[in-house]
């Protein structure tokens, strides 16, 4: 594949994929919650740009609706809600000491390679660009999970959860030019409800263990000791 021979849209999609992947890595190594939320909002913004780009280039007006939804939910509402929680809990000056940061970053790189490996069979039936886009979305999902595993703050878990959604969304936009509108509206509704529920949960967890450190949620075991 020669990059210069591709059309503008495809080139733009490839750079977007790279940037979205980069933001995932930035989140993975971030110990400050406010910066984590900021990078998450950036990722949402990149998604919005990708959606607008796809809507414009492919002349697909319903994608503008999903661009607006992404902007409202992932760039404005959810980061705003999380930020407010952090400030209320007075956690904005804390730096979470991440254990095994190097190992986590290396693991992240490994996951990216793994995503390419898993999706490699589809190269036979579609373009290399598609493989890149889908592999990046899958690795954004996996990196989101790794983020949840390596961080202890409930807020970081929510960011990880939502960035998994971002990865899915990127896959849907790039590979299929967006899911059918009714499905996309449904997914956006679910994300909205999930965000509100997370807000409620922060309140419950705080009143129950007086912290948002989920390592303290350790009362239930698989087998009773």
């Amino acid at each position: 594949m020669n990059i210069e021979q591709l059309d503008f849209y495809t080139q733009a999609i490839l750079s977007m994929a790279a940037l979205v992947g980069l933001t995932s890595f930035l989140m993975l190594g971030q110990g400050r919650l406010l910066r984590l939320i900021f990078v998450f909002a950036m990722q949402g913004f990149l998604l919005t740009l990708t959606t607008v780009l796809a809507a414009y280039s492919l002349n697909n007006p319903h994608l503008y609706i999903s661009a607006v939804l992404t902007l409202a939910l992932k760039v404005i509402f959810i980061p705003w809600m999380l930020r407010r929680q952090v400030v209320q809990m007075n956690m904005h000056r804390d730096i979470e000491a991440l254990k095994n940061n190097t190992a986590v970053m290396l693991g992240g790189a490994g996951l990216m390679v793994f995503s390419y490996y898993v999706l490699h069979p589809i190269v036979q039936s579609s373009s290399v660009v598609m493989l890149n886009a889908l592999a990046v979305s899958l690795s954004v999902m996996l990196l989101g999970m790794l983020l949840m595993i390596s961080h202890r703050q409930a807020i970081a878990h929510v960011v990880g959860f939502m960035s998994i959604e971002n990865g899915l969304f990127f896959a849907a936009i790039v590979s299929t030019n967006g899911m059918p509108l009714v499905v996309e509206l449904g997914v956006a509704f679910d994300v909205l409800v999930a965000a509100v529920l997370f807000g409620i949960f922060f309140f419950h967890i705080r009143t129950s263990i007086d912290s948002l450190d989920v390592d303290l949620l350790n009362k239930l075991h698989e087998v009773d000791k």
């Binding site: 069979p121 039936s125 999902m141 949840m148 009714v182 679910d190 529920l197 949960f201 419950h204």
Partner: protein, 487 residues
């Protein structure tokens, strides 16, 4: 088709009504009525399908075929009987000060929300909407798991939320891959419709579908409670209110399995290999054995039965994985009898826990002497779920064994072993609870065991003789899933 719209409309009205009206003394009874009317609507729908065959709504948004219609009726039936149990149970919880009016309002509204999500999963023709509804079911129930607001229940709900949310995100990735394969051959807006996909399954790209199915199985498998993604299940079942445990175990797990089977039908059509079946068999067998062993180490009565649910879901996944007509028939039957029995058991367990004032098994004693109804209910329920003849669970497990012997003879051994281990695990805990010495100040409580008796009677009936129309129904569904029928 009007019946299908009614089935969705009634719980929708229920959500809004309970949210606006607030909690009153008769809210529990109203909840029973909503579920009762819905049950009537589903029966009407079932009669329609029985007469006309598969129905597709005019906009192709909904599809009712023999496979999902029986699950719809089952969902409505278990929802109805659970709401009968729920009314006095929740009133008692309020009396002893565990719940307030506001939380009961949330409970009833979300009960209907959960039912709506379940009906939507089953009736929709769109694989994307199926995902949305499945996630909706998590969202509706997550606040119910933490209804008591104890630290344990909040931990359980958080685990449930995160694990199921992340898990089900994998299923969305699988759905996106499915859509990606579908737009390559056909039109965009309709490409995710199951009826369209099923017709064109042979033309779908097998590589993409294989990768997609792995994600679907992991995603929906989290909701089925397949090992090693099962951790949320015992926590959510044991910490939430008991009626919720009954519907989670009896309905949610079934519907997640339904979603997997629907996808398997597409993948099988595209790949012509047994990849999907083998994956399901492997995960199913693993869940079955691990849960059977873990049964022995439980101390909480609701956790005990949630591990039993994992075990049975594993068995069903295994049976659907084998895939022949006999195994599919057995799996469908097992879905039915397991739902009925398990929800009956959770109802009894709820009463037993209220009687003893705790869910710790070592402090539940002498049920049969304090209140024979509850003691017998628990004993018969356990006998039934452990797979004793003449109950229906025996019939379906026996059929699964037959199918296994036929296709993979060497797998019969671990199956028999698992059934034996699970049986021992259940009885070593249940026996002292039912027969042990009665604690001094234990007094009978007001308990409504009609739902339990009706469920167990139905399971007994299914074990003795499956009525003709039901057998016809099962074989229609088997024909749809596996391509031929065992009868």
């Amino acid at each position: 088709m009007i019946a299908a719209y009614l089935v969705l409309l009634i719980p929708l009205i229920g959500i809004i009504f309970f949210a606006l009206a607030g909690h009153r003394d008769d809210t529990g009874k109203l909840n029973v009525r909503f579920n009762g009317i819905c049950l009537l609507a589903t029966i009407w729908l079932a009669i329609n399908v029985l007469n006309q065959g598969t129905i597709i709504s005019s906009g192709k948004a909904f599809l009712i075929d023999p496979f999902n219609v029986y699950l719809i009726v089952l969902t409505a039936f278990v929802g109805f009987t659970t709401s009968i149990f729920s009314a006095p149970y929740m009133a008692h919880e309020k009396e002893i000060g565990k719940l307030t009016d506001g939380r009961l309002k949330l409970y009833h509204s979300m009960f209907q929300g959960f039912m709506l999500a379940m009906y939507l999963v089953l009736t929709t023709n769109n694989m994307g909407i199926m995902w949305v509804a499945m996630e909706g079911a998590t969202l509706a129930t997550v606040l119910l798991v933490s209804l008591y607001r104890t630290p344990e229940s909040i931990e359980a709900a958080w685990k449930y939320f995160i694990l199921c949310g992340v898990g089900i995100a994998q299923a969305l990735f699988g759905t996106i891959l499915l859509y990606y394969a579908a737009v390559q051959i056909g039109d965009g807006e309709n490409a995710l419709l199951w009826s369209v996909l099923y017709q064109n399954a042979g033309k779908l790209n097998p590589e993409i579908l294989e990768i997609g199915f792995v994600f679907m199985l992991i995603g929906y498998g989290t909701k089925i409670g397949l090992v090693p993604l099962h951790n949320w299940l015992p926590d959510a079942h044991s910490e939430g209110p008991t009626p919720m445990s009954a519907v989670l175990s009896g309905l949610l797990l079934n519907d997640a399995l339904y979603a997997v089977v629907r996808n398997k039908m597409l993948v099988d059509g595209a790949t012509h290999s047994s990849m999907a079946g083998f994956l399901m068999m492997g995960f199913g067998m693993l869940s079955f054995l691990v849960a059977a062993v873990l049964l022995h180490r439980q101390k909480d009565i609701k956790r005990l039965f949630s591990y039993s649910s994992i075990e049975h879901m594993g068995l069903m996944t295994f049976a659907f994985g084998i895939g022949g007509p006999l195994a599919t028939f057995a799996a469908l039957l097992h879905m039915t009898v397991h739902s009925l029995t398990k929800s009956a058991i959770f109802v009894t367990v709820g009463h037993a826990a209220q009687l003893a004032g705790t869910q710790k098994m070592e402090r539940i004693r002498g049920l049969i002497r304090t209140q024979p109804k509850i003691g017998w209910g628990l004993l018969i329920g356990t006998i039934s779920i452990a797979g004793f003849p003449p109950f229906g669970v025996f019939t379906s497990e026996f059929l699964v064994l037959l199918a296994t012997m036929h296709s993979y003879p060497w797998l019969t051994l671990p199956l028999l072993l698992g059934i034996g281990i699970a049986f021992a695990g259940l009885f070593r805990h249940i026996q002292p609870m039912v027969y042990g010495d009665k604690p001094k100040d234990q007094k009978p409580i007001s308990a409504n065991l009609w739902p339990v008796m009706i469920h167990l009677a139905l399971v007994l009936w299914l074990g003795l003789a499956i009525p003709g129309f039901l057998a016809h129904w099962f074989s229609q569904a088997t024909l749809l899933i596996s391509g031929s029928t065992p009868l």
